[in-house]
Amino acid sequence: MSIAEPRAAAATKRSEEYLWTLNFGPQHPATHTTLRLVLQLEGERVVDAMPEMGYLHSGFEKIGEHLTFNQYVTVTDRMNYISPMANNVAWHHAVETLLGIELTPRCKVIRTIIAELARISDHLLCNGAVGLDTGAFTFFLYGFYQREVIYDIFETLCGARFTNSYTRVGGVSHDFTALVIEKIRSFLRTFPKTLDDMERLLTRNRIFVERTKGVGVLSREEAIARGATGPVARASGVTRDLRKDEPYLAYADYDFRVCCAAAGDCYARYLVRMQEMRESLRIVEQALENLPAGPVNVGIDQRTALPAKAQVYSTIEGTISHFELAMSNRGFEVPCAESYAAIEAPNGELGFYVVGDGSDRAYRARCRPPSVLHFALFPYLIRGHTLSDVVAVLGSLNIIAAELDR
């Protein structure tokens, strides 16, 4: 067994007779979706846990070899369905790295804004679920209401409230309109107050603090060795944030802090997420105030994004470009090469390893899912804690089954 190496001292031969085996999931409210844990219990104390996954394995990577770079974005929506926009950005960031496309300034800023809004909505649900699992239902409802506001922004932007499929190779499907900007501005005005309310509800709530502080502690060394990224690693003192370390999109232009904590427990992960929402708000605010004008998609010389209709009808280059992109045997030029590109998704480092073979479909579309590595941490975090801590630890890791299993 993979997780049996540093087994707790309690699990010696003699005491093993008193162990209970409890099956947890795959259909259980606190597993959120379809995780399964087989827990070894000694009374109420968890001696060992064996995670089991694959209950939502749908062959995403296989299907990625059969869809074009633009089509596959719909599948990435369904990957981490808590923040589909971040997946869209990650996928096309990887594809554009392979193709060597430089985005327009406006597109970079727009993608930055939607990625940060996705981060806020992800953290709202994640922290809401931690609250829900530890008994704070009101907190969850506060969070979900704000998610609905973000859904509404996305719906105004691209017509889909939830599975957006917003990005395209070399651009996005819809430009920002005045109404979208107005809605984001109003969100920026109202959200801090809700965030304050939420913090007042839970951050110093004694029951919540008791249930999360000191539970599921992950040390800095373990976090790195076991491949943790994102808020989980940052709550353990790893100061790694791709937005700062390998600035992509427009992040280099904005002033924001990387939120870290030293404790590495569930409470620290909660705090890091709460704080990150405030930083995301700052990024969105700066980006929105400095939204560059100009085209949102790359020009026709790049031959990746469909040209504007006016260009198609009035210029020969536009017509040719549109024709070539629409023909199934043309498409765009893809090098026979492999590249990896990652973004700092709400959950951690979300990257794609894309192999191009000259066609407009990926030869291999590997997704580097943060959830897998975080779920592998679970047995180490839960050992020695009580059964009721299982949901707190699970919630604080924010494991999304569709991203876990793909």
Binding site: P29, L56, Y145, E148
Partner: protein
């Protein structure tokens, strides 16, 4: 001959009374696997508030529920779990297949995804969409309530009708190398034998 009734008495059939009770006290069992599960949460959460339509008592124990909402794709590792939970629910029970994936497999026409749960369990209501908006799910629940009111009988006889017994769709799936695989794999052999020629 007319029987004098006081104003606050209504005459009805027992079947209709039972159906009326049942339709207004649906207890959903959220079998949420994927993205649709988040929209299912949204349906129950602040803005859409399913409680307005008499079906808000989400229970995660199948024994307590009479409406299974399958939200999200069901894959081959999950289907035995789904079937077991369906069998654990007590009669009368209904099933809503929420979203394209649960109904048809949706965009995931891959080796692992079951192409529609109605091939393996009975389904009463399909909700299109990927994922369906909360309003659509609420409408489906209202429609199901209507169906229960129209068809329901106190003994659950509506489930005995021949069309309810039929499989929803024929299974047409090319088999070939699977048998070759099965020759090497005793577990798969047993599965195939138990299933009894599922490719008919």
């Amino acid at each position: 001959m007319a029987l004098e009734l006081p104003e606050n008495v209504v005459v009805s059939r027992l079947d209709e009374l039972a159906s009326w009770c049942r339709k207004n006290s649906l207890w959903p069992m959220p079998f949420a696997t994927a993205c649709c599960g988040i929209e299912l949460m949204a349906t129950g959460a602040s803005k859409h508030d399913l409680a307005r339509f008499g079906a808000e008592v989400f229970r995660f124990s199948p024994r307590q529920c009479d409406l299974m909402i399958v939200a999200g794709r069901v894959v081959m590792k999950m289907l035995p779990v789904l079937q077991r939970i369906w069998l654990q629910m007590s009669e009368p029970k209904w099933c809503i297949s929420m979203g394209a994936c649960a109904s048809t497999g949706g965009v995931f026409d891959t080796y692992a995804v079951v192409q529609g749960i109605d091939r393996f369990i009975p389904v009463d209501m399909y909700v299109p969409g990927c994922p369906p908006r909360p309003e659509q799910l609420i409408q489906a629940i209202i429609d199901l309530q209507d169906k229960i009111q129209r068809e329901g009988t106190i003994t659950g006889r509506e489930f005995d009708t021949p069309e309810r017994q039929l499989r929803k769709r024929a299974l047409v799936e090319a088999v070939g190398p699977l048998e070759a695989d099965a020759a090497r794999n005793p577990i798969l052999q047993r599965r195939l034998a138990e299933a009894g020629a599922p490719h008919a």
